[in-house]
């Protein structure tokens, strides 16, 4: 049983707007699945349907091969959009309610709070928390039941850079324990760093689904500069491992063929008695792929 979530032809209509349009998707156990899409593309709506707070218009989905029920939701740790808690209760009291609903022992509360670094402030009322602390508390709440699946909708929204890095580390750590994570985000960099798989939604339609590796691996792009651009250009044209060369002023952008690296290119130039003054490997980014997918859909 390796499929955690199976979605078939899921559709949600709000009057004339189709927020989720005939979406089919399946998510494997242990994957960290990123859901990308511009604002209003249906990410939150999709997750809301999966968590039974939004009624679907049509379609089906199943968790762990079972029809969705409240028992299934008790095995999922989820936050949707913004942290939601009783403002007049402190962190511990809030998590006690969650623990009671999920039927997990109260002893999990302190552990969760320590994981997100909120233990010191645990007796302060939720309404006195900063946005970042609220985000952390919602992650603590999602961790409370030691979930098999975590659903995080923009978990780093409003966090400082250190907070973002910490949450990212936390997600990676949770993923290492073999948990399945579903992460909706605008931060492509974040998805690239933590996700194994991703999909792209636009106006509720699925535009792309695949692994992050297949996008970021593959042919490398290298920027090269030397004191004598003319000589450099000659030399580059002779290099066997080159697929394509483009020029931006004095800078050459070289697409290497499969299996070649920037080190090979550097060695070659050195053998040609040329010294590069600038040599930079451009990582192929998810961002590019994302923008390409969206641009293609505009032409279609």
């Amino acid at each position: 049983m390796n499929t955690v979530l199976e979605i078939n032809n899921l559709t949600k209509k709000y009057g004339r707007i189709t927020a989720v349009n005939n979406l089919s998707l399946s998510i494997e156990r242990g994957s960290v699945f990123g859901i990308l899409g511009p604002n209003g593309s249906g990410k939150t709506t999709t997750l809301g349907i999966l968590l039974d707070v939004i009624n679907k218009t049509s379609g089906e989905f199943s968790w762990f091969g079972q029809p969705p029920t409240k028992e299934v939701r008790k095995r999922i740790g989820a936050i949707l959009e913004t942290p939601i808690f009783y403002p007049y209760l402190n962190a511990v009291k809030n998590l006690e309610i969650v623990a009671e609903i999920k039927g997990v022992p109260k002893s999990n509360i302190d552990i969760s709070l320590q994981k997100v670094d909120l233990f010191e402030r645990r007796f302060d009322n939720f309404k006195t928390y900063s946005l970042g602390m609220r985000q952390r508390l919602s992650i603590a709440s999602a961790l409370l039941c030691d979930p098999e699946v975590m659903i995080l909708d923009e978990p780093t929204n409003g966090l400082d850079p250190q907070g973002i890095a910490e949450i990212r580390g936390l997600i990676q750590q949770i993923a290492k324990d073999g948990k399945t994570i579903i992460l909706a985000s605008h931060l492509l960099d974040e998805v690239q760093k933590v996700c194994s798989h991703f999909c792209v939604l636009k106006r509720g339609k699925l535009l792309h689904v695949g692994t992050v590796d297949e996008v970021t691996k593959g042919a490398e792009l290298v920027e090269v500069m030397a004191n004598n651009p003319a000589l450099l250009e000659q030399a580059l044209q002779q290099f066997k491992g080159v697929k394509n060369i483009s020029k931006e002023e004095d800078k050459f952008i070289v697409t290497l063929s499969e299996g070649q690296s920037a080190a090979d290119l550097n060695q070659f130039l050195f053998d040609q008695k040329l010294v590069a003054t600038h040599l930079l490997t451009q990582r192929k980014s998810l961002e590019k792929q994302f923008l390409e997918v969206l641009a293609q859909s505009d032409h279609a």
Binding site: L51, I54, L80, Y86
Partner: protein, 266 residues
């Protein structure tokens, strides 16, 4: 069910308005008989002219009259408890915590059961308080106390319980429909005037239908008792048909709450 009650009480235990309103309600229940007696004593001392009649002899707070009299008066206080219920439920919508409860593993029915068990507890608790207050007041002030008469008419405490339970369930329904607390309290207060206005447009041969309007039906449980002291006929029993109608209303209200929650996005 107890677990669901416990969860709802955890939400309320640290909420100040919950305690303030409950305590105000409790204090009013206990103090009304005291105030009435003090008032009658005061009338007596002032030598009010009742044709030499001692106002303390009017059996307002004597067994068995006391049960219907106090429960009738107390039904005017139920708005305090209705406000408790309305705040507790509208908070869940304004904080969106109902959404998180469901994400965490409640079903919509669990949410309803959890709130209904608090409503049940409030109704039972205040019926108990009314019972004890009535019993003590009656024991203290009934001059020719015969133990056999003490519980005559105490079925009005049960009627009071049903009255409260149905009214609070209606408050629950209105909150689910209107979401905002101030608006809901306002609508609940307007409910009876609106009913009466609508009833005024009914032709005489259909007037009997207006008896079954929700607030009217609830009020039929405990008939106005005080007119017996100016020698008018009153209904001094709890009519079973009134009980039946109220029970049906409770079922309808709960079903309407369920239907509304089921069909809406949270």
């Amino acid at each position: 069910m107890l677990k669901l009650l416990k969860i709802d009480l955890q939400k309320l235990a640290n909420y100040r308005a919950f305690w303030v309103l409950n305590i105000m309600y409790g204090v009013l229940i206990i103090s009304i008989p005291v105030v009435v007696l003090e008032f009658m004593k005061w009338l007596k001392e002032k030598g009010a002219d009742f044709n030499n009649f001692d106002p303390m002899k009017i059996p307002v707070l004597h067994f068995p009259d006391i049960w219907q009299n106090i429960t009738y008066v107390y039904t005017f206080l139920k708005i305090f408890l209705a406000i408790v219920v309305i705040i507790s439920i509208s908070n869940e919508f304004s904080y969106k915590t109902i959404r998180q409860n469901i994400i965490d593993g409640f079903s919509r029915m669990d949410f309803i059961k959890s709130k209904m068990s608090t409503i049940l507890l409030l109704s039972l608790g205040s019926a108990l308080l009314v019972f004890i207050t009535g019993l003590l007041t009656g024991l203290i002030y009934t001059p020719d106390l015969e133990m056999g008469n003490v519980f005559d008419g105490s079925e009005f405490v049960l009627a009071y319980f049903l009255d409260l339970f149905c009214y609070l369930t209606l408050a629950f329904l209105l909150t689910v429909l209107l979401k905002r607390s101030a608006l809901t309290v306002f609508m609940l207060l307007l409910f009876s005037p609106i009913e009466r206005t609508i009833a005024a447009f009914f032709p005489a041969n259909l007037k009997f239908i207006t008896e079954y309007f929700p607030i009217h039906a609830i009020n039929n449980l405990i008939a106005f008792p005080l007119s017996r002291y100016w020698f008018q006929e009153i209904q001094d029993y709890v009519s079973l048909s009134a009980v039946g109608v109220v029970l049906i209303y409770i079922v309808i209200f709960v079903y309407a709450i369920y239907y509304k929650l089921k069909s809406s996005d949270l």
